[in-house]
């Protein structure tokens, strides 16, 4: 009769799981030794999406707020690093931190006026914000307008310069793992519980004394911050960025990733992010058909498995 609580972290359920996770991590770390450049590039993109999806999951999965303009935050991170590095010769790691901070600030700026909106209006406002950032980047001189910024220098650590694809792969893997730990911790924290209450019933949570405004703004800020970090690393990996890297489709793809895998459940979010990158690659021989096929797969899934791919704990919406 009594139901198992599914809020316990996955790792606590079975002694085997930490071992498997560690093994999986080793396989991932060793990837540059057995994978070719193409695979490594796709894997780096997938990890990039994992970070973005985990960040967006704070806003959408944890706090239950809709956000259709998430690519704006990784644009902020990417442009921050690109501008500070090409025009001010700043150290990458410093611009990385500044990029995360500015993205968090952008999260608060978009979050603050939208807090009282219903979710359908929220969708429109966040969508608009995403477009504003992109169009601003398209028109400003400092962002290189439509051609964007190129020749972004490569970062280095203590004299070791990032020159190979695998350097960026490792950096992205590290960022993804750290993000996963951080977001998992957040989900199980006091703040995580506050988000859960707000998501479940905002009015009741507020009546019980949860500071709705603060809790939501923190969700926007933290979610945006991870987007900023990812964007910053993306910029140096690509060494060139342009406004079209941050269009509406990007925001939709990240949202798809977390809906695909299962909202709020981190293994699902990670899986969704990986699939969103890898499935279109696998379907590359179908060329421009692949997004259509991908769309059909999604629709089919929404009909037969709306809770996402990852198995959920006995019908719980966690």
């Amino acid at each position: 009769m009594a139901q198992l609580q599914t809020t316990t972290p996955l790792a606590k359920k079975s002694p085997l799981i930490p071992v498997l996770l560690a093994l999986f991590a080793v396989i991932l770390f060793l990837m540059p030794y057995y994978a070719n450049n193409y695979m490594l590039d796709v894997a780096t993109m997938a990890l990039f999406y994992v970070v973005l999806a985990l960040g967006l999951n704070i806003v959408v999965g944890y706090a239950g707020l809709l956000d259709l303009g998430y690519s704006a935050f990784f644009a902020v991170g990417a442009y921050t690093s690109a501008i500070l590095m090409t025009q001010f010769q700043m150290n990458f790691w410093l611009t990385f931190l500044i990029g995360g901070a500015l993205a968090a600030l952008a999260g608060i700026i978009i979050g603050a006026p939208t807090l009282r909106l219903r979710s359908d209006y929220l969708a429109i406002v966040t969508l608009g914000f995403g477009e504003i950032i992109r169009i601003t980047a398209l028109n400003l001189e400092i962002t290189g307008s439509s051609s964007g910024i190129f020749g972004i220098p490569r970062p280095s650590i203590g004299g070791y310069a990032f020159t190979h694809l695998y350097d960026f792969y490792w950096a992205m893997l590290l960022l993804a793992i750290l993000t996963l730990f951080a977001v998992n911790r957040l989900g199980n924290s006091r703040l995580g519980r506050a988000w859960k209450y707000i998501r479940e019933d905002e009015d009741a949570a507020e009546a019980m004394g949860i500071d709705r405004v603060r809790v939501k703004l923190i969700a926007y800020a933290l979610g945006a911050m991870f987007g900023g970090f990812a964007g910053s690393l993306f910029a140096v990996k690509m060494s060139a960025i342009a406004p079209e890297s941050f269009n509406f489709m990007q925001s939709v793809m990240i949202l798809l990733a977390i809906v695909f895998g299962g909202l709020g459940r981190l293994p699902g979010v990670v899986l969704g992010a990986v699939l969103v990158i890898i499935l279109p690659e696998l379907m590359r021989s179908f060329a421009e058909w692949r997004f259509l096929l991908f769309g059909i797969a999604l629709v089919v899934m929404m009909i037969f498995r709306p809770q996402g791919l990852w198995p959920s704990g006995r019908g719980k919406t966690e």
Binding site: A2, A194, A204
Partner: protein, 238 residues
Amino acid sequence: MSQILELRDVDAFYGQVHALRGVSLRVEEGEIAALLGSNGAGKSTTLKTISGLVRAKGGSIRFLGEEITRLDPHRIVELGIVHVPEGRRVFGALTVLENLELGGFTKRKDPAFTKRTLERVMHLFPRLNERAKQRAGTLSGGEQQMLAMGRALMSDPKLLMLDEPSMGLAPIIVKEIFKIVRQINAEGIPVLLVEQNAKAALKLAHQGYVLETGQITLQNRADLLSQDEKIVKAYLAN
């Protein structure tokens, strides 16, 4: 007797709708005050205005001598006013225990205190204890009401506001709920009780107020009010 809560000439609006027109009422130490009135009279709005969910446009609300009229809801909860909203509003997807944990959320009391309070709540509501790991959405209406009240008690309230706890419940359950309200009050917690079930509420309360289209039209000791002809005709007839 010292007073816990006092509303003076409180006005509240929803857009153009003037929902409260100069409402004045008070809750004294240790007592149960009943706020009666038919559907749409403004009872829920009164509670929401006290707890800050609706902003008062005029007048003043004082709690334990402190002006709280313009405080945010979470600040008001911290001061000790806990509002059990109409329709219970438990978190259906969360377990009974998780719901109760929310009650202790704002008070960063030591774990020993939370544990003691949880035991007290479980003692008051044995049914919740039996269903601690069950999802709140699977509880019956009466059990959900108990959960909502238990959740409120978890934050150690200095004033408990209940919005129509009897709504939609079978008479026998209502009796049980009201018995528990009396018990809670006997432990020294003042209660502001909103009810359409005037007869039962006046039996329980010390003081009664009648609200009609946003205005207090009658107020008196509960025992006297239950004999008042107008009340009997309007609210106690059946």
